[in-house]
């Protein structure tokens, strides 16, 4: 089976950082860097003209249009692009907000290039990747959240719940299909129903919904 490469965009206001990361990440033949931008506005301009990347590495602290504003804009114009936040702002408030805004992953800027590349691959294949730290932050936040947000009233069938649980466990569509003895197309159908019912914009949004509304049991997988 021929593996088509993942199209990656890098958005960071530090030119040398972009160059360095590009050089290191391009060593992985599955990843092809097709776009570089110095801030959010540059990115949006380029998206209007050229090819759309599958995955974005996005800095938060940038001039003109910050990563926060860029993420908001992209969720409207290009919800299919999976965003990995790569930033020095590695605090709880930022992580929670960016995940809520639909970020598929969140990494500290001084992560090992290997880890960045692995995250790109996982996000491209499964829609999201939250490492242990991010998971803990979401879990802690969820406990607080119950007090201030009313739970969403969404009717989810038991089959959909199974699918959602497996999505949260980072299984791919094919793997879920095998596990539940159904076809991948049916899995996609369930996923689309879930997206529609929960109002989530992507898989990352589904996971956040599942965690915040305690649809899936957490402790078994991340405890």
């Amino acid at each position: 089976m021929k593996q088509s490469s993942i199209h990656l965009g890098i958005v960071d206001d530090e030119l040398l950082f972009r160059k360095g990361l590009r050089a290191l990440i391009s060593e992985r033949e599955e990843i092809e860097v097709i776009l570089e931008a110095g801030n959010g506005q540059e990115l949006l301009d380029q998206l209007r003209e050229g090819p759309i990347p599958d995955v974005l590495l996005l800095d938060l602290n940038m001039p003109v249009l910050s990563g926060v504003e860029t993420t908001k804009a992209l969720q409207k114009s290009h919800p299919e692009i999976r965003i990995i936040i790569l930033t020095t702002h590695y605090s709880k408030g930022f992580i929670v907000k960016m995940i809520e805004l639909g970020a598929a992953s969140y990494l500290p800027k001084n992560s090992e290039p290997e880890e960045v590349a692995e995250t790109v691959l996982t996000v491209a294949a499964k829609g999201f990747y939250y490492n242990d730290h991010v998971m803990n932050v979401i879990r802690e936040n969820m406990q607080r959240k119950v007090k201030r947000h009313h739970l969403a009233h969404v009717e989810i069938s038991s089959r959909e719940k199974e699918v959602l649980q497996l999505i949260c466990e980072q299984y791919t569509t094919a793997e879920i299909a095998t596990k539940l003895f159904i076809s991948p197309r049916t899995v996609d159908g369930h996923r689309n129903n879930l997206l529609e019912k929960t109002g989530a914009r992507n898989t990352a949004g589904l996971v956040v919904f599942a965690l915040e509304n305690k649809v899936v049991e957490l402790t078994d997988y991340w405890g």
């Binding site: 530090e14 360095g20 602290n61 020095t88 702002h89 605090s91 408030g93 930022f94 001084n110």
Partner: protein, 268 residues
């Protein structure tokens, strides 16, 4: 006989005249003294008012200058130092490609990487302590949540934060910053002076106004003596709130904890 009488009368008139002159003089003297005293008092009061005004102005500009400096240093640290350190780290990884399997090079590179990570961490910590980036990007509720989380993590105090609207923003960024600093100071006071074990904060947003309720279960203080002995911390709180047109009211008794209510209402 008549002449003696006449002489006596003249004498009496003379004495009367003299006495009244002296009385008048005394009156004039008293009047003069009291007037000049009043004038001196008034001048003293004027001077005092000027002094107070001057001190307030000084405090205000000190706060503003301090915040501006903090912001500038945080930005320089983060934007210039921090981002260059991250570039350095990437470059070290690229160097690795050219050193082959040399063990000493491997070890050296490992050391440099871990040193870089520590330095990146320190730079970020200092920059965030100077000015929490959460405040600017997401507003007061999120920044307070992070602040409380930090204190909670120390394990010495239990902080409960309740927010009616986690995404609420105030029209003035400066108001958010000053309120953040005020809560920071209140928590510090509760822990350091009040030895509080529990702290509660409640944020209630109006259309453009904000009410902040704060309480702790610490040692408390005598509110009636607040006017005479205010510590630097409380004065600092007053000045910051004065700066943004907000007020604070304390309720406390020795041994009964502290309750404080902050009111920000720019319209009134």
């Amino acid at each position: 006989m008549d002449q003696v009488l006449l002489q006596n009368r003249e004498l009496a008139a003379l004495v009367l005249f003299g006495v009244s002159i002296m009385l008048l003089l005394a009156l004039a003297f008293v009047l003069f003294v009291s007037l000049s005293q009043r004038r001196i008092l008034k001048e003293q009061m004027n001077a005092q008012a000027l002094e107070i005004e001057y001190r307030e102005e000084l405090l205000r500009s000190t706060i503003l200058t301090q915040e501006e400096e903090r912001r500038r240093i945080a930005k320089d640290l983060h934007d210039d130092l921090g981002s260059k350190l991250n570039v350095l780290k990437l470059n070290i990884y690229q160097v690795k490609k050219f050193t082959g399997d040399s063990a000493p090079a491997e070890e050296l590179i490992g050391d440099v990487k871990s040193l870089l990570d520590q330095t990146i961490h320190t730079t970020r910590r200092i920059s965030h302590e100077l000015l929490p980036p959460t405040l600017q990007d997401f507003g007061l509720p999120t920044a307070l949540e992070e602040l409380c989380d930090g204190f909670q993590r120390t394990g010495s105090v239990d902080i409960h934060l309740e927010v009616d609207d986690p995404d609420a923003r105030l029209p003035q960024v400066n108001s958010e910053l000053q309120l953040f600093r005020v809560v920071q100071e209140l928590i510090n006071n509760s822990i350091r002076h009040g030895e509080a074990r529990q702290i509660g904060i409640r944020l209630h947003h109006g259309k453009e106004s904000l009410k902040l309720h704060y309480y702790d279960n610490g040692k408390g203080f005598d509110v009636t003596r607040l006017a005479e002995k205010k510590g630097l911390g409380l004065k600092n709180i007053d000045s910051r709130l004065h700066l943004i047109g907000a007020t604070i009211r304390y309720e406390s008794e020795p041994g009964a904890g502290v309750t404080a209510t902050v009111d920000l209402n720019p319209v009134s």
